[in-house]
Every structure is written in C-alpha cells, then in structure tokens.
Subunit: 295 residues, 2 copies
C-alpha cells in the first residue's frame, strides 16, 4: 500500500523492525545485529535480512530508524541537535543504500552544551510521548543503563541530564569485590526503600556503604537479595538526590521497561510523588511514527 | 642468628618476604603467588620457594605474615578482631606446616559491627605507625583500592570506615562507557582539585557528572587526561564529603603508595589540612616487626 513504511529501533546490541501501514503494526522482527558489531558496510545487509519480505514490489519503502545506528561509529552520523528543541523535529539523515527499494532516514540524537550531555534513541521515545500528550508540561524519566531525566515544555525538550546509575549497578554487582555478595535474582523491597531514603539523606556515603555489603556478608551473613536491593536503592537514591531540581513539585512520567521503571516509581512514591508510567517500546514506535509522518 | 626471622606481606595478588635480624632487613624477595591463585595446600610451597635460603640450619625460623593469607579462602583463617582494639595486639594464628624449619603465624584483620566493616593487611600498617608514634591521637588514611579511614587513640583503632573509591575508579575508567574517554596516563592537576571541590559541594551528582565526561568528549573533545583527573577528583571529593567526621579538625597521616597518597594529600590540603605521609611498605614492615617482637 502507498502508506506502508518500516520502523526500526537500532541500538548498540539489538536491531528491531516493524512493518507498518500508517500507525498500524503489520509484522515485527528482530536480530542481534546491533550497531556495536557492525562495520559501516554491514548495516544495509543486516537491515535487508530482516525487512526484505516487507518491501513494496515497486518504488522505495520508507524506513525510519532511531538509536545508535546514527552514532559516529554507526551507519551514517546523524549529528546531535542542541536543546531546547522538539525531540524529533527534523534533521533526519538519509543513509546511503545500494538497494533502490530502501529509503532509509535516521533520527538524530539531542545534545546539551552545559552540563554537557547527549542522548540517542531516547529522543524518539520522548517524541512518541509528546505526540500523544502535546500539552504535557513536566518531567520525563527514562530509566535504563544511562537513565535520562528531561524537562518537557511546549512540545520541546528544555533540558536533560543523564545518570550512569544503571551501568554502575551492573559493574559493581557483576565485576567488583561485591560480585559474590549480591545475587542476580531476588529483591528485598523494604531494604530497597530504606536504602533510597538513606542515600537521599547522605548521598556522599555511597562508596563506603557499598563496601559494607561485603563486610556485612562476611560478619553477619547478609542475605544476597538484601545486598542487591540496598545497592540498587543507594544508587537510585543518590540519583534522586541529584535530580531533585527535576522532580520536586513536578509531574513525572516514567518511560521504560516496566521491570526497571517500577523501582523508580516506588522510590518516587516514597517521596510523595505519584509518577505515571508509559511503556518504553510503545513510545519508541510512536516516536518513529511521528517522525515518519512529520517529515 | 637467634633473632633471625622472616616478615611476609601476602595479599590477593602478591607475595613479598624479607629476611630480618631483629628490626634489620638482610634480604628481600617477591613473587606473583598471591592468595587469589593458591589453594590451601599451595601456600607452604609458595613460601618455601621464596624463603628457603634464609631458614636457620637448626630449629624453626619464625615467620610473621599479614594480609589476605589469613582470609577464609587463604592458608588458614585468622578471625577478625573487633574494634576498639590494638591494631596488632594479639590473636596471631599459627599455620599448619609440614617443614619443621618453619614456624608461621598470621596477623588477624580487624572488624567493626556497625557500620559493618573489615580490614585485612591495613591493621599491620597501622600497627607499624602506632609502634613508632605511640602517643598519636588522630586519623590515619590508607589510600588504596579500598581506602581505609581509621581513628587512632590510646594505641587502639577506635573505629574505621572503608571506601571503594579506588575500585570504582578502576571499573569506570577501565570497563564502562567512559573507557575511551579516560586515559591511562596523564593527569590535569587543576581539573582534579576543581572536581574535588565540586564533589564536596554536591556529592550526589556523581553518576551524572561521570556521564558528562563521555558527552563532553563527543561534543567538545574534552582531553582524556582532564577526564581522568575529574573522575578521580569527583570520587575522592565524594569520599572526603562522607569522611568529614574523620578528618575535620583532626591531624591526618596518609599511609600508602606515594603515587596515590599525593592525590589525597592535595585534596586535603585544599580543605586547609596539612596531612603528613608515611610510606606504606615501610609501615607494613614495621608492623610485622612489632607483631613479631610482641608475641
């Protein structure tokens, strides 16, 4: 059909594609061909492998992609757009293709001069949310390896800040001296909320508190699921302490994977907020559609 | 001679030994046979390989060892002694040996119930300092992978706190998204002191500041030695903020490797302190001698 197109979410470690007709999903597919393992000439074959069955028999099928595919080490660099600006308001970059059945455009990321910050991929989720909620004035929090806090007003991203809390959690739990003290499964919800509160009060003690998990494991057989919950709570509490200018007295919507977003929701609820949540995958697709329809 | 003995510093990744006569060093040797790569039955051969030439022709030669050799996973567990207590005031544990020329004793580590904390090896450096400075009343800071802050009074360790700042630095600089933004060499001293000051003021922002190194590298070609200095400064500043009850208005002596201690010295000097320094290896040897002569 004339309004067939293809939506693509192309991150460092994943490639996901949807066959679309207007805003409707007809089919989906995914592979492990993330940007991190592809040389520039390998992007087109990786994409074709997934989407070839969906291409129109005649003419080029529009493909709109977001994520690290547009990084300097990606298929083609889609230069960051400086905030304040609409989250996906233009600047799509065309990728050079050999197959004439493809017309590939990449959504650029956003940048901020001071404090220096960048995002690539999250701007599309934000665009999806803003398309559905054009009057929203408040905060979006996108939990992940590098959690983003963004202030949205008048359909623009006014400012944002990235926190490495998720990556710090993974490094400490997986590769530090604490790797045997922290489980990979199980979670002590009370210990989590207590840790969030402790860290909001005295965020500076993180490096000492973390070692106490090891010591309490040796001295008092601290359960590993309690240790895991405390580590997570101290990191999220430290993040909430620093992000207070974002969330204090503001409406907050969490966009992300439900499993991770729920921890942020619990932590914010304990501070008296009532955050709403939106599914990260749904927002990605809505943002790709907004970018496709808008260009 | 009758007062010949052997001093041993046996950590996770190293084994160092000194042939001693009383307090005098006659010879030294070292190997890579750290506790981390030895099964329990491998400790005696690893030790003999280094010290056999130094053993007395008749009778057993006393050997005093400190460090992870006394951990649960070491040669023989030397149970932690709870503070407050003298840093190496007893409780040496004899290791079972097959060679009758060896008489091996291991110095136990110290523990603290609340906040839960442990040390193993640093107590010997502290003992070395206290033996030479019995009237000292103040703070010892032992910079390292797991930096220790200890309050010393009346020749005892009153309390202590461990910070994982060094391990966090190594993980973030070596294995996080920042690994290409941070050099392994070079250091921007001004950026370091500025970062210490920023982190003392707002320690909670660490996870966001860290990501800014990546962003500023992408957006403004931040030099990698500046990035390294900032990362170090933010971590040490966060540690100083939490350790303030230890150092504020107190005499501070730094015990450790000069290359690392100098960063702590600069950071403390910027807060108006005049910390003294003592060499970590010299303190280890002095502490082993004190334990040998005292038992």
């Amino acid at each position: 059909m004339s309004d067939d197109w293809i939506a693509v979410d192309w991150g460092t470690s994943h490639l996901r594609a949807w066959a679309m007709t207007g805003p409707e999903i007809r089919a989906s597919a995914h592979s492990e061909d993330g940007m991190g393992r592809l040389s520039p000439e390998a992007f087109e074959p990786a994409l074709l492998k997934l989407v070839e069955p969906w291409l129109k028999p005649e003419g080029a099928t529009p493909v709109v992609a977001c994520g690290m595919v547009g990084a300097r080490q990606g298929w083609v660099e889609a230069p960051y757009r400086p905030v304040p600006c609409a989250p996906a308001g233009g600047g799509l970059i065309r990728a050079l293709v050999h197959d004439e059945r493809l017309d590939v455009r990449i959504i650029p990321g956003l940048s901020q001069a001071s404090p220096a910050d960048v995002m690539r991929g999250e701007e599309t989720q934000i665009a999806g949310f803003v398309a559905a909620n054009p009057e929203y004035d408040g905060i979006l929090c996108l939990p992940g390896t590098h959690t983003k806090w963004a202030h949205i007003s008048a359909r623009e991203v006014v400012s944002f800040r990235t926190f490495m809390s998720g990556e710090l959690f993974a490094l400490i739990a997986g590769q530090s001296v604490l790797r045997h003290s922290v489980t990979t499964e199980g979670f002590d919800g009370d210990a989590f909320l207590e840790a969030v509160s402790e860290s909001l009060s005295r965020p500076e003690s993180f490096a000492a508190r973390a070692f106490s998990l090891r010591a309490e494991g040796l001295l008092a057989k601290l359960p590993a699921d309690t240790a895991r919950a405390r580590l997570s709570g101290w990191l999220i509490g430290m993040e909430l302490a620093a992000a207070r200018p974002y969330w204090l007295g503001q409406p907050v919507v969490l966009i992300g994977a439900p499993a991770l977003s729920q921890f942020y929701a619990q932590a914010l609820e304990a501070q008296g907020l009532t955050p709403l949540t939106a599914d990260g995958d749904a927002m990605t697709l809505a943002g790709l559609a907004a970018a496709h329809l808008g260009h």
